[in-house]
């Protein structure tokens, strides 16, 4: 691998730019695609791989190429810079998520409580509007405070986020759904909310709850959505 290519791949990852790494297996010739200097068939293979989010060996004009789609990392947006968030953020980073913690309460959203994690102290609806959650984004609300959780959930349900989770007991969640129903959300929208949040592993402590939440998010990302009762 050429050092300039390595730097280009890292820069693309940091800027959430989709690129493809292509290597001709016969001689190790390589490109970071799209690249005007690359043959059109190679650029096309790169675009196809990104579309399918695929990594593998492709035959192009009789030659074998390793074509590696490098789509932007999945994102996790955590609303509430609370104790569980402190446990969840590093787990999510380790699992390859690009993590943002949102909390306008600057006492909670102190950088020293979240080393290395992006913090946003805007109100959750404003912060989410800026982040533009897409189909590669998971959102979890942890504040317990409807003033903060509700605007976040409203934004989340209006987005394409692949996972929306909300901390809170069944009773808390029922009250939450009543408030959201009054705003026009229906059962189809509610079926997207993972609540009580996380896989049922009997979690009690903050780290245990964080593990159950990241496990559920990974499952949703990999197409293993848990069946939930009514």
């Amino acid at each position: 691998m050429i050092y300039a290519h390595l730097l280009r791949l890292r820069q693309a990852a940091a800027e959430r730019e989709p690129v493809t790494y292509a290597v001709r297996l016969a001689d190790g010739a390589s490109f970071v695609l799209p690249d005007q200097a690359a043959p059109p068939a190679i650029n096309q293979a790169g675009a196809d791989a990104l579309e399918a989010d695929r990594i593998g060996v492709v035959e192009i004009d009789g030659e074998s190429w390793f074509i590696e789609a490098r789509n932007p990392a999945p994102r996790l947006v955590v609303v509430g810079a609370v104790h569980i968030a402190q446990a969840l953020a590093p787990l999510a980073v380790t699992a390859g998520f690009d993590v943002t913690v949102i909390d306008p309460r600057t006492g909670f959203a102190a950088p020293e409580r979240f080393p290395g994690v992006r913090i946003d102290t805007a109100w959750p609806d404003e912060a989410l509007a800026a982040l533009q959650p897409d189909a590669r984004t998971a959102i979890v609300t942890l504040t317990h405070d409807p003033k903060l959780d509700d605007p976040a959930l409203i934004s989340a349900l209006r987005s394409d986020a692949f996972y929306v989770g909300a901390l809170g007991s069944s009773r808390t969640h029922a009250k939450r759904l009543d408030r959201l129903r009054a705003l026009g959300f229906d059962d189809a929208a509610f079926s997207r909310i993972a609540a009580p949040v996380g896989l049922d592993i009997g979690a009690r402590t903050a780290p245990e709850i964080a593990i159950s939440v990241i496990a559920e998010i990974v499952g949703a990302r990999r197409g293993k959505r848990r069946e939930r009762g009514a």
Binding site: M1, I55, G56, V57, P111, T121
Partner: protein, 115 residues
């Protein structure tokens, strides 16, 4: 948006290219091994990486630990010659048993020198 830009991204466990970049910046000779194809019960999907240095540092993986030793040997050769290699290990290949790919899977690994 009040974003704290002082915060730098924490490195994920899969950020092997980041580790390779750090090693290279520190003056190490570095090779990067990448799973380019896997079949059957091979534990690591295509795109999985391992970075190695001539001084014997190693991060990441290309299998469940079965072929890393053999890949490290090849990487030393690649770091000497500068020529990339494709290594294939599988259950039908006697060398797979020799290096211990007991999972019954098959895996192809591209080994490149970082230049």
């Amino acid at each position: 948006m009040n974003t704290d830009d002082r915060a730098l991204p924490v490195r994920g466990a899969e950020d092997i290219l980041g580790i390779a970049a750090d090693w290279c910046a520190a003056g190490e000779t570095v090779a990067i091994a990448t799973v380019i194809q896997s079949w059957g019960s091979s534990p690591r999907p295509a795109g999985s990486r391992m970075a190695l240095t001539k001084t014997g540092k190693m991060e990441g993986s290309v299998s469940g630990g079965c072929i890393e030793g053999a890949v490290a040997d090849a990487a030393l050769e690649v770091m000497d010659t500068g020529t990339a290699q494709v290594l294939t290990y599988g259950v039908t290949d006697e060398s797979a048993w020799a290096v211990g790919l007991a999972c019954g899977g098959q895996v192809s690994v591209l080994v490149e020198k970082l230049t």
